[in-house]
């Protein structure tokens, strides 16, 4: 199947998110779509998969113009999309989720789940997906949930599969497996569109690259191997991008956060954080490396006062804060960038201004007595939007209308534009483009240079290596290794993340 987009424009009100885009998508090829946050990638693909109606332009499938009224029609035309945010029902099984909306029914309209299961297995086999049709979604790791989304699309016999930032939530191992799946899809003749911010990935998997900036196509590359990452980055952002973080030499001050023998249980009373001790000093960045699911989330929740601690103590500037609430810690100068922006970091239906003060609204700056000082809030929000280059029309826009990366920037702006002493950041740059990553890394380094203690949790090893003064590796709830940030060797850290490091444990 060959799909051609001709002069596609999509406006939201007066704002054009996509302007006159021409694009060719071919069977058996992977098209990599690259672009800054808010460039219009998701919007363009939402037009293609029938979620939005284009304002102008036409879509041609095998030379014939088509027009979709809703995603149902696009699916029937063979176009399927795996969205940036998954759309699965957690309490349903894999098979149930896959057939949702197109349920195979037997006589008297009863749901034929056996047939559904068989079909899921068949798809499994042909593309090497290995997903248990009877597993409940909520019990599956993110990487497997994503495969369920892929099965959903294939089950509806899509010939064009669109992936919107599929790798943002995957572990490195999962990415490798994901690429295997993409290759087998491609080899079976499907057309693939792949959106990502990771330049290495796009060079590895794409046959052709198109770059979008501010709604327009600004560049193509036919031989991804032949262009360097730096060139791609420049094409995307419109200026050279530095991949190194500039920061002053490591001059750690007094201990800020002292964690001793910390033990945290998860909801099922299993040990999530196992007897962890560590120190973060003022003026240093400590990076916690580790494959997702090794207790980092529980550690962060415990340090930010969101989970009860089962054992051990946490001192902040010498004061015991083991049982202090999230608000208390916030008042002491804690800033927290949570990992799940849509669920815990933001309220999508609220405006940008409201989200900018979500955890500091009670501050004297923003309220007097019982009343909010919205004028001050709005002014501060506009300033933050400008400083952090959040691509938005107005601070009164709902956050849900922002692109994924710009939503992340709202959180980062909120947490970093305050006067803080200690920053805990989980996946601070997930879903951000290289330009924004550069900026946010420099802001984090700046906070550290001003004397903040910083704890970064990231599954992005490159990010940890670029930012950290010290690196701790977490594996199965324990800190299993410690490295010096300046001298750490990527493969050694990687080994420790897999629990196979033989050097000195911390």
């Amino acid at each position: 199947m060959a799909v051609e987009l001709r002069g596609i424009t999509k406006r939201f009100g007066s704002f054009a998110a996509v302007k006159g885009v021409n694009l060719q998508i071919r069977a058996g090829k992977v098209l990599g779509l690259l672009g800054e946050n808010g460039a219009g990638k998701s919007t363009l693909m939402n037009v293609l998969c029938g979620l939005y109606a284009q304002t102008e332009g036409e879509i041609l499938i095998d030379g014939k113009p088509v027009r979709f009224n809703g995603p149902g029609e696009a699916i029937r035309a063979g176009i399927g999309m795996v969205h940036q945010h998954f759309m699965l029902i957690p309490v349903f099984t894999v098979a149930e989720n896959v057939v949702l909306g197109v349920e195979p029914t037997g006589r008297f309209d009863h749901l034929d789940l056996d047939q559904a299961r068989a079909q899921v297995r068949e798809i499994n086999d042909s593309y090497g997906l290995e997903v248990d049709p009877d597993a409940l979604i909520e019990t599956l790791p993110v990487g497997v949930q994503q495969r369920v989304e892929i099965i959903k699309v294939l089950f509806r016999s899509a010939d064009l599969v669109i992936f919107d930032e599929p790798t943002a939530v995957l572990t490195p191992q999962e990415v490798v497996e994901f690429f295997e799946i993409v290759r087998s899809l491609r080899d079976s003749g499907k057309a693939i569109v792949f959106i990502t911010h990771k330049l290495g990935e796009i060079r590895e998997i794409s046959d052709h690259i198109a770059v979008l900036r501010r709604g327009e196509i600004v560049g193509h590359a036919d031989h991804p191997d032949a262009v360097s990452e730096a060139d791609l980055a420049e094409m995307m952002v419109g200026r050279p991008v530095s991949f190194d973080v500039e920061k002053n030499p490591h001059k750690p001050g007094a201990p800020l956060l002292e964690v001793a023998d910390l033990t945290v249980l998860n909801e099922n009373d299993d040990i999530a954080v196992d007897d962890v001790s560590m120190i973060v000093r003022s003026g240093e960045i400590v990076g916690i490396a580790g494959v997702q699911g090794n207790g980092q989330s529980a550690l962060v929740e415990a340090l930010t006062g969101l989970t009860r601690v089962a054992g051990g103590t946490v001192l902040f500037k010498g004061r015991d804060i083991t049982r202090a609430s999230a608000r208390d810690r916030h008042r002491m100068g804690f800033a927290h960038i949570p990992e799940d922006r849509q669920r815990t970091g933001l309220i999508p239906a609220f405006t940008i201004a409201e989200n900018m003060v979500l955890d500091s609204y009670y501050d004297d700056r923003f309220s007097r007595g019982p009343t909010m000082l919205w004028r001050v809030v709005n002014q501060a929000a506009a300033q933050a939007v400008q400083d952090f280059d959040v691509r938005a029309g107005s601070i009164f826009d709902a956050v849900s209308t922002l692109s994924g990366g710009n939503q992340q920037k709202v959180i980062v702006a909120r947490e970093l534009s305050r006067d803080t002493e200690f920053l805990i950041a989980s996946q601070p740059t997930r879903g951000l483009d290289v330009g924004s990553i550069e900026y946010i890394h420099s802001r984090i380094a700046q906070a550290r240079d001003e004397g903040d203690g910083v704890l970064i949790v990231s599954s992005e090893l490159d990010e940890i290596l670029a930012l950290s003064d010290r690196i701790l590796v977490m594996f199965k709830g324990k800190i299993v290794a410690e490295f010096d940030g300046a001298t750490a060797d990527k493969s050694e850290v990687g080994l420790a993340m897999a629990g196979r490091y033989e050097g000195a444990a911390a």
Binding site: S325, S367, L373, A382, S394
Partner: protein, 380 residues
Amino acid sequence: MNDEPKPAEGLSEAFLKRAAPDRAAMEDLIVVPFFAVVVALLLGALAMLATNVDLATVGRSYVALLVGSVGSFNAISETLTAAIPLTLAGLGIALGFRAGMFNIGAEGQLLIGGMAAVIAGFSFAGLPAVVHVPLVLLVGAMAGGLYAAIAGWLRAATGAHEVITTIMLNLISYRLVDYMLRLDFIQREGRSDPISKSVLGSAELPRILTWLDPNLRLHAGVFLMIAAVIFIHWLLFRTRLGFEFRASGESPDAARYAGMRAGLIIVLAMGMAGALSGLAGANQVSGVLGRASPGFSAGIGFDAIAVALLGRSHPWGVLLAGLLFGALEAGGRQMQVDAGVSIDLISIIQALIIVFIAAPLLVRRLFPWGFRKPAPVAKE
């Protein structure tokens, strides 16, 4: 004081511009409810025809509905009188919705608030009205608030869902009122049926239109209603507490991460919702009924849920919805008198309005010419 911040240098003013209200949002707010009412009336007419009412009587009923609700001073007075408790209790439910609480218990809170208000109303003989009336209202609000706070506390402490607990509390309140009405100090002297003493003259909300016509029942509660609308609007959109309510309602997880205390917010939101329902009850006994009898709440607490839904949980919307439901009630009585049509029909029409409000897409389909383009599809 100087809270007028000067724009920082180089700050782009563009970010501070508010987009004009989106046309689709306006349609949802105004056009959909309007058509919902029209369709409900049409279907109501069909229902009448189906029950062997002839066309002429149907016509007469709707004329009576109009005349009885806005056709005379008396009609307007009756409409407003009926709207007061509906709006007050509706505000309470709307406040709960905003904070993420589905409070079915307005009926019970209204009963308990009304009972407490009656007791305060016949007890303190000799108080001047300027003290007694506010006291009665306050007691009613507090009783309703505390009663609702039980459900809030159960939710916060044990996770028991407020839909279940408020339904239970409703049932308890019915029996509690029955029991209390037979207590010696509450039951009217010389009566064997459950009925309370009458509130003292000093505890009655004064009628405000008697200078026009001594029979007009509209009382000072109408000012209370307006004040409550303004207050709730201010609370929700201008205060810290309102911000916390709305945040917890939209996303409990994000609110928790932001350091808001979910338990406290739940209890407070339920308490305030109950206080508004209790106020509605106090308003009824002190402004309209003058005493309490079994079931004096008359289903207002349930109609208030519809009022809150119709008003989209927005204070001014609730006021408009309360006025509409008040008009339907006042007009419905007239309809029964003039055309002999059962007042139950009004309940059917009210229910139909809710059905169509809850299904905006259906309304859009029925009246495509009333709207622009198909409804936009939500993002992601």
